[in-house]
Symmetry: D2
């Protein structure tokens, strides 16, 4: 029986502030990427999420971002790779402590927002993230976009890696995500996203906006909870996968 | 041969800012209480300190404070004990990741500033700190002031505990530190501080301001680097101890 | 025709985070107390609110809080009154710049959360707030709870002052708010709150929980948007006041 | 008698942290660019500086930076120009309130660090800064590097503008600062810097690294206090200017 993982960014509240739809999304996904206190998230949200993850059999990963709470980690920031590495390592450690409350381990890492975007293109950033994993716990799975510097960094460092796809986003011919600015590049219809998810997992291919077929072996699909339509799309994807006898499992149960 | 530990608060810079005199102080002490990013300290300062500690054979502990960078953790803040517990656990975890770079473990915890002062008096705060230790790594030594709620919390939770004395501070009759507002309550003369250190370790007693003798078994003496005279006082204390054939060792080598 | 002001705390989002129900509440109130960037609020939220206030004929005041974004200004913090004064002055100035975009002036000040609670009891805090007003613009109206140190400070400094009542809260015999811990002390029923508002304005009295009548001349009533029932209660109060031929006006139009 | 202004970035401490050498530098300069709380500076440092400026006859300007305290405003951050504009306006307003304590006005603005560097090249950033000035107080002098987008923005908006030179930095042929990476591009010798200052002011020209002469009319020269040699260089410059009968005056006394 084929398997796939569903992951989402989660626990992005902070202090008195809440955002997203964690409770619903956590019932759909099997791996949670938890904000670690820098772009979002605090000890309370991290702790709450880890306890919930334990109850629901969801695996927990670090979701480190720039130290930019105001910008929610969405602003591109230029910094020294060595500073970035330690920033990421710090965030992993903080989440490990919170996961300890639930008897869980931090089993994957997925960079957030602008950090993820920059690390996709910038080898020094991608390596900085990889080195942080290596220093803190080299069993942590590096979640990487296909064809990016992150994939190369994980391979170079010999880290376990999971390739990630976005079933609710359309793709360019080179395998990168098409810009959100292109009309139709974000799929808000659960059926369309579910259809793309099935293509990705069952058929091992992405149909780019141009119609081009890109063969790719993905390990995890990312779903979203921050837009109104996110949870419905996520549910549609999961149902379509299970209807096709594809088992949705934690990242830790995937063959990487 | 009798033993004692010398500890200091350390690595309290942040970003572009520096403070204290870490390089000199690290040569005098045997255990470093490392600021963890909330009242002071960042991933860079924590990492640098851990690497230095490894080189110098200094054991590393967490020095968590309130989430109050502006106030440098010196402002008393009222918060829910559960929130405080998670705040402390988060800080421990972050330091564990930084210590991993040096192949070190976090082996003690000493609360900072206003948090330390409040936890000395407030059982709920003292227990919150203890529970954070318990959740993350119950081998971490809880550094507590003699006769305080912290001592009681460590005992109640069955955590390893080290009782701490301040050789450069005078004491009240109840074993608490005399207020800084009392003239002469802070010893800036290395000889006077060294004399009190010897009393504490060799004779197992504190002579209060009133002249009263308080019998006490201390495991660690705290020295300071933030005042101009701090390092000189710290050196004086260490020399006096060694001259009296008292071995200055990491907290992990103390019989607790 | 008798007049009264309705005010609310507003614009308490920050960065990517939103909170409260500003759009609806702004249609009900006539004076907005705007978070100034320390416990909540940022340049964007402040600017947006000022532009909206101009459109709706709502007067704008500063709503300074402790520098405690994580705690949303609800944690009691001990600090030097001089530091507090400058913290408040800074926040007033920041809002003045944002108000300049709308061609508005900052015409009142109401302290937020824990700062308001502490300043009610602590003369040094209450004077610190008053001195900040005095230094930046002594025409700013100091919003104070009846019978508190804030009232005394405003009188001592000769500042314009508005006494504030809470129609959705019950009172103790001494004129202070009854603790939220007492069942029934928070009125979530629009009719009950409207009834108390009428008593306060039309009859110039508060009926304490014990039944005691307290005579009081109030200038502004505070309504809330942070609870689900808040906006409905606020609307109920305004309708009841207007049905009783009481005109709801900006604080700047009140006889103080 | 010819005149010139000397300015410096100042008051860049924060909370318990201090940096730079304000007391000495303030005796040399005639205009202070005051950090406003985002990349550095807080209400205390701003207040202290304004009081000192009044005593010394130094004019006060805003020195806004990115909201990046950790990075000390030195990290390039991509953000929406509208967000940046409001961020700058907020900082001006905050400083105006602090200046009110000293009976001073904020009379110039100079962007800090990465913001200054980015605004030199990026028209949208340069205009955002200019629009903030325009909204809050259009009499504020926009300090701009010669030949940059900031100069163009000030001209486009019709704002008073001061062109700034760096006597302790060497220049490229296009009038921009030569990279610090080029050996000798930073002048640490007071005589060399004083020589360049004289060239700039007396002769109205800059000799680029290549030897090329660039004719330029400058209104203010920037000196530094953050490096060990900064104050000595600053003193050397001032003495050389005065020895050449050039009067060093506040920016507000310059013919712009």
């Amino acid at each position: 029986m084929p398997t796939i993982n569903l992951n989402a960014d989660i626990a992005e509240g902070w202090g008195a502030y809440d955002i997203g739809n964690d409770a619903e999304l956590m019932k759909v996904i099997k791996s949670a990427s938890v904000a670690c206190g820098f772009h979002a998230g605090d000890a309370n949200t991290m702790h709450r999420l880890c306890m919930l993850a334990k109850d629901l059999g969801v695996s927990v990963g670090a979701h480190p971002g720039f130290n930019d709470l105001w910008g929610f980690g969405r602003r591109r920031i230029q910094m020294k790779p060595q500073d970035l590495e330690l920033l990421v390592a710090y965030q992993i450690g903080a989440l490990q402590a919170m996961a300890a409350y639930a008897g869980l381990k931090v089993t994957h890492l997925k960079a957030h927002g602008a950090l993820n975007n920059m690390a996709a293109e910038d080898a020094a950033y991608a390596m900085a993230i990889g080195r942080a994993i290596q220093a803190v716990d080299r069993n942590i799975i590096y979640v990487a976009l296909y064809g990016t510097e992150m994939q190369k960094a994980a391979e170079k460092l010999g880290l376990p890696m999971a390739l990630e796809g976005f079933p609710d986003r359309r793709y360019a011919d080179d395998g990168n995500l098409a810009s959100r600015a292109i009309p139709g590049s974000v799929l808000k219809d659960p059926n369309a996203a579910a259809e793309q998810a099935l293509r990705m997992v069952r058929d091992g291919e992405i149909i780019a906006l141009s119609g081009k077929r890109i063969k790719v072996k993905l390990h995890t699909l990312c779903v979203h909870g921050d837009e109104a339509t996110g949870v419905a799309v996520a549910r549609g994807i999961r149902q379509a996968l299970e209807a096709a006898d594809i088992s949705v499992v934690p990242l830790t149960d995937m063959q990487l």
